[in-house]
């Protein structure tokens, strides 16, 4: 799944070393081995299933965030969109008894509308996406807690059933714990396949890379900037709304605050996985590696004896090291004689 190819770099091997996927894969492997050596509990059925379970929701968020990043934007509003969709679906469909597809659909539509607002502001006025989504986050969470007075709320029966449903169950004879593989992971697989197709086999997908690489060139090449940006933010909003409903199901309860802060994890995961914050680059494979690394770290640091207090320090350090390596390579490339220095610090 290559991004737009680097034309002046004919050597394949060297090109692969420039990518971040190999590094992040190695880091992930090392971390898993370290946890296994220290605790002996990493490569057990129930731990893997637990990881998959805690991975599902952030991974879907990452798909949306990645599209936005590739297009040269950034979206910090998806936790707010997801929470608002989750709450509205739980609260106003609470005696609905039919199939869960309707709950998911309503969640996705709500998300789509909110994402559409982001998209309109970014595409029509060309405001920095960071500011727009910060602003709409404030509005959405204000509506959630102010106008709707959100608090913990039970989820409707179909969502409860979805949360209880399992593909299989993994039992650990040593610890006596067992974990259920959630059905929602199928949805993640489906979305991954669909997004892969979108990015690599459709013109819209190429357009997303193109406008992230160079919006002016993309427009001259005939891509409709407004339409593509609207599409990206609507898509990512719809994913967020859908994920909100899934989250509610998996928790068996609607906690309107517990997605807060997820935006940082997901942006970090995407960037670790090689999605460029300045646009034009990113692959689903890399991003999935990134979010897996973040999840393993959050779940397993305690297994290798790192006190919980240190967790945030580690997260911060990983973000900085992960983004620093590729940024430094790019910076050195730019500052070679003849290369035009681009402004640092510009998002």
């Amino acid at each position: 799944m290559p991004g737009p190819g680097n034309l002046e770099e004919p050597m394949r091997f060297k090109r692969h070393l420039r990518r971040s996927e190999p590094y992040i894969f190695a880091a992930l492997l090392l971390l898993c081995l370290a946890v296994e050596l220290r605790s002996g509990q990493f490569f057990t059925g129930n731990n893997i299933v637990d990881l998959a379970r805690s991975l599902t929701v952030p991974a879907i968020f990452c798909i949306g965030e990645m599209l936005v990043l590739i297009s040269g934007g950034v979206d910090v509003s998806f936790p707010a969109i997801a929470s608002l969709s989750m709450y509205v679906v739980s609260r106003y469909l609470d005696d609905y008894q039919g199939t869960v597809a309707l709950n998911l659909f309503v969640g996705a539509v709500l998300g789509l509308v909110m994402g559409g607002l982001n998209g309109f502001l970014v595409a029509r006025f060309r405001f920095p996406a960071m500011l727009v989504t910060l602003g709409t986050t404030s509005v959405f969470s204000g509506i959630l807690f102010g106008a709707l007075g959100a608090r913990e709320y039970p989820v409707p029966p179909p969502m409860y059933d979805l949360g209880k449903a399992k593909l299989f169950s993994a039992h650990n004879p040593v610890s006596g714990l067992s974990s259920d593989m959630p059905v929602s992971i199928l949805l993640l697989a489906l979305l991954l396949a669909a997004t892969w197709f979108l990015l690599n086999r459709t013109l819209t997908g190429r357009g997303i890379y193109a406008i992230g690489g160079d919006p002016v060139a993309a427009e001259r090449a005939g891509f409709n900037l407004f339409r593509i940006q609207m599409f990206i933010y609507c898509f990512s909003g719809a994913l967020a709304g859908l994920t909100g409903v899934i989250r509610g199901s998996m928790m068996l309860n609607c906690h309107p605050t517990n997605l807060n802060g997820m935006e940082m994890t997901c942006i970090a995961a995407c960037v670790l996985g090689g999605a460029s914050i300045t646009g034009g680059k990113g692959t689903l494979f890399g991003v999935m590696l990134g979010i897996t690394l973040m999840t393993v770290m959050a779940n397993s640091l305690i297994l290798i004896g790192v006190p919980t207090y240190w967790q945030r320090v580690f997260t911060g350090a990983i973000i900085l090291v992960g983004t620093g390596v590729s940024a430094y390579q790019a910076l050195r490339g730019r500052r070679k004689p003849g290369a035009v220095a681009r402004r640092a610090g510009h998002a």
Partner: protein
């Protein structure tokens, strides 16, 4: 995002800035009159003004810090966390070296030393941000996102996640005092800091270079400006202001904690944008930011006076105000450009 995308209109000349400030002053006056009409009995009281003057300095200082980094074309998402880390360390020092029952002289020395330490920590954290942005080349929003976690994490490690209280009495006593019985100490601190940064930006070579860097980093580099050093200085200054804000928060609550004032991050970006600082760098000034701080404080105070309006409506309002300001600035830019081309 390249300039062509996020800023379709770039106006030459200096009048735009002044016009922006005039507009903000007009908004301030209108909001003030609006507040006075809505709640004349509660709003127009000396005690109300005094309590407002004690509230805004902390996020005002953070906003000026964020604005400085936005002038360079970056952003600082870690200001609140720098403030908290500085405060937490200062609190630790105060409690360890001036326990209850120490002599007044010793306590005073320790308190002053702890404050100096806090400022040093703030500048150091800012320098880390600046180095990550300039020497390593990480985009500012990511670098400060990472250090946000890092600094907050360190503060949690230092405090074990609990608030630190039991500070020496004199700290909060002097911090919450009024000078001449009318002007709160924190307001004076804010005014002096804002003045210093304002002078730095408008009257010194450092300020001129900073605007140049923000308008066009490549041109600044080719003009022989030490761009890396300038980035580091800008982020250091932001960290320093954040540490001052942290000390103020510590005086107000008489304690220090790893996650005080988290909502200030969003609010200080909003204020900087409202104050006319361009998120693409190169435009904006301290006067504008101060005016925006005051406007937001008025709105927030008057909203508080309506008991049946939930605090969360404030979030909706902030979001709408921020996007509204962006749209208004956009429309004004378009109109001005049209006039120029006629």
């Amino acid at each position: 995002m390249p300039e062509t995308l996020s800023e379709p209109v770039r106006r030459p000349g200096f009048f735009g800035r002044d016009k922006n400030f005039t507009r903000l002053l007009a908004i301030f006056v209108l909001v003030f009159i609006g507040c006075a009409i809505l709640k004349p009995d509660l709003f127009l009281k000396a005690s109300n003004f005094q309590s407002m003057a004690k509230q805004f300095p902390e996020f005002g200082l953070l906003s000026i810090g964020v604005a400085l980094t936005m002038l360079t074309g970056g952003i600082d998402l870690s200001v609140v966390n720098i403030g908290n880390l500085a405060a937490v360390l200062a609190a630790r020092v105060m409690i360890s070296f001036a326990p209850k029952g120490s002599s007044p002289e010793q306590t005073l020395t320790v308190v002053v030393a702890a404050m100096v330490l806090a400022l040093f920590v703030g500048a150091l954290c800012g320098a880390v941000n600046g180095l990550l942005v300039s020497k390593i080349g990480i985009p500012a929003i990511l670098a400060t996102l990472g250090t946000q976690q890092l600094f907050m994490g360190l503060a949690i490690v230092v405090t074990s996640g609990r608030p630190i209280s039991g500070l020496p009495m004199i700290y909060a006593r002097y911090g919450n005092r009024n000078i001449f019985g009318a002007v709160p100490v924190v307001l004076a601190v804010f005014a002096v800091s804002a003045l210093i940064v304002g002078v730095l930006l408008s009257r010194t070579r450092f300020g001129a270079k900073l605007y140049m860097l923000g308008s066009n980093a490549t041109a600044a580099r080719f003009a022989g400006i030490n761009v890396d050093r300038l980035y580091v200085l800008a982020y250091m200054l932001s960290g320093l202001l954040a540490a001052v804000a942290g000390l103020i928060m510590m005086a107000r609550s008489n304690s220090a904690k790893a996650d005080y004032g988290i909502s200030y991050t969003m609010q200080s970006i909003l204020i900087a944008v409202l104050g006319g600082v361009s998120p693409n760098g190169g435009r904006g000034n301290v006067q504008g930011v101060v005016a925006a701080v005051l406007i937001l404080q008025l709105l927030s105070s008057v909203l508080n006076m309506f008991e049946n309006i939930s605090n969360f409506y404030r979030d909706i309002l902030w979001g709408i105000v921020m996007i509204g300001v962006l749209i208004i600035n956009y429309l004004i830019n378009v109109r001005d450009l049209r006039r120029q081309s006629q």
